[in-house]
Symmetry: C2
């Protein structure tokens, strides 16, 4: 049975998409079979892999609302051993449409059950909110990775996020656990970044990943070419950091 | 009758809160009477002004869901001539609760009607989504300012945002108009930032504000002290840029 994890944080622009695409692509390049699910109506994970949202035969919307099986909705082979369930703007309507559907928080989890055997790891990129799309993702996985930008405003919402994860754990998914928090856009020259890292280390002493992801414009450039950081600039600091983070993730997931 | 404007963009972390707090505080310091509404469950605008979310007597949630009048819910005098309607985590539940309420898209607009006379400008800080909180804000105002981060992924969602604004304009609020787009976190040294600015200039030839907001860590530090950039570091590049942007906004709003 494959492991499933969500990248979640309602704070916007903290590196959820960059982390999910980078980790998914490194795990696939290392030999594991990976499914990446784009659960954000912005579809940034989809376009970061160079997939045109307008050409998706099916998408996460179809799985959540129409009940299409994940296997049939897949965009296969975004990369070798990396399948993508892409997102398009139709997903923006899903938050409201889900409210009146039965089992509204569990629809993604139920849909995933049929395919989890086929993958070693499933990653879900969440939108910047704690609405029904993120709740569906948290109800469907075993683990959560929380990317945290090294800025003050990013600390603000942490308590709210942890409370929401606890709520999903109590009501919907007892197996859910925060496997780790990863500090992103770290600029060692600023006092603020170092202070935030210290604050988070105190908050989550055992959960913070050792790897700190540096702020690096190469990471922001790669999506404009539809390439992962490993394809775009494999020797960059961003690529090295995400390689080392991915190794930590693989170890914590105990991937065989 | 005061002017009302929303800061909206479903892409996360692009500077919506930083722009709304900076512009609101400069307009108030210049003599106009300003109301800032925090419509984001993260409550970043509330804490950026140094207000403790846990001590709010009332909040945006009470106005939207309980129908409390804006006048009674106000946290008065966050600064001289600057009132705040703050947000707390309860607002996170509003998206789902609004779905089943009557006039669900208009509740903020209706609540605002009673107080708009008392202010020269009302600004609404939106969450990073196109859900019912943002729709309520767009239905309640005359103008929208779109902050756009100078990065590729921030361009992705622009079409979707413009389509959503058009939809609200057609169905709920014919007066709605995009008064301008402001480029944020601009780093002139990177090719990517210059390229994104050129792309947006082609997209919105007449709407881009002349002022480009530079990336500056002082802007990220100020909220940790509960201070505006003008209080924290008045001579910084960030303060100068937001002063110049605020003057452009005042001119476009034709504030007397
Ligand atoms: N370490 C980094 N250094 C520099 N830029 C980065 C880094 N990580 C991500 N970025 C850029 O910062 C922006 C925000 O990152 P990203 O889109 O991954 O965050 P997100 O949390 O997924 O955002 P959203 O909340 O909108 O979904 C993007 O333009 C991305 O390219
Ligand atoms: N010009 C700037 N230079 C450097 N940092 C900035 C700048 N503007 C904003 N920031 C910082 O970047 C982060 C994102 O900005 P902000 O929170 O204002 O964006 P937002 O669009 O409101 O985010 P969200 O989508 O989560 O509501 C914050 O930590 C903020 O302090
Ligand atoms: Mg994202
Ligand atoms: Mg904000």
């Amino acid at each position: 049975m494959g492991k499933a994890l969500a990248l979640a944080n309602q704070k916007g622009g903290v590196g959820k998409t960059t982390t999910s695409v980078s980790v998914a692509s490194w795990l696939a390049a290392s030999g594991w079979r990976v499914l990446l699910i784009d659960a954000d109506p912005q579809g940034n994970a989809t376009s970061s892999l160079g997939i045109d949202k307008r050409t998706l035969p099916r998408s996460t919307y179809d799985v959540l609302i129409e009940g299409v099986a994940v296997g049939d909705a897949l965009v296969v082979a975004a990369r070798e051993r990396l399948d993508l369930l892409g997102a398009n703007p139709a997903l923006a309507g899903a938050e409201v449409e889900l409210v009146s559907l039965s089992r509204r928080e569990r629809r993604l989890g139920l849909a995933l059950e049929t395919v989890r055997e086929q993958y070693d790891v499933v990653l879900i990129d969440c939108p910047p909110s704690l609405g029904l799309l993120t709740v569906n993702a948290l109800a469907a996985v075993d683990e959560v990775i929380v990317p945290i930008q090294c800025e003050y405003l990013a600390l603000e919402g942490l308590m709210q996020l942890i409370n929401s994860i606890d709520l999903v754990k109590r009501r919907l998914n007892p197996a859910l656990d925060v496997i780790g928090v990863v500090m992103t856009m770290f600029d060692p020259r600023t006092r603020l970044a170092n202070q935030v890292v210290e604050d988070v280390r105190r908050y989550f002493p055992s959960r913070m990943f050792t790897t700190l992801i540096p702020r690096s414009v190469r990471l922001a450039e790669a999506p404009s070419f539809g390439k992962t950081i490993f394809e775009y600039d494999p020797t960059s600091r961003g690529a090295q950091a995400y390689r080392s983070l991915s190794e930590e993730v693989a170890a914590r997931l105990a991937l065989a």
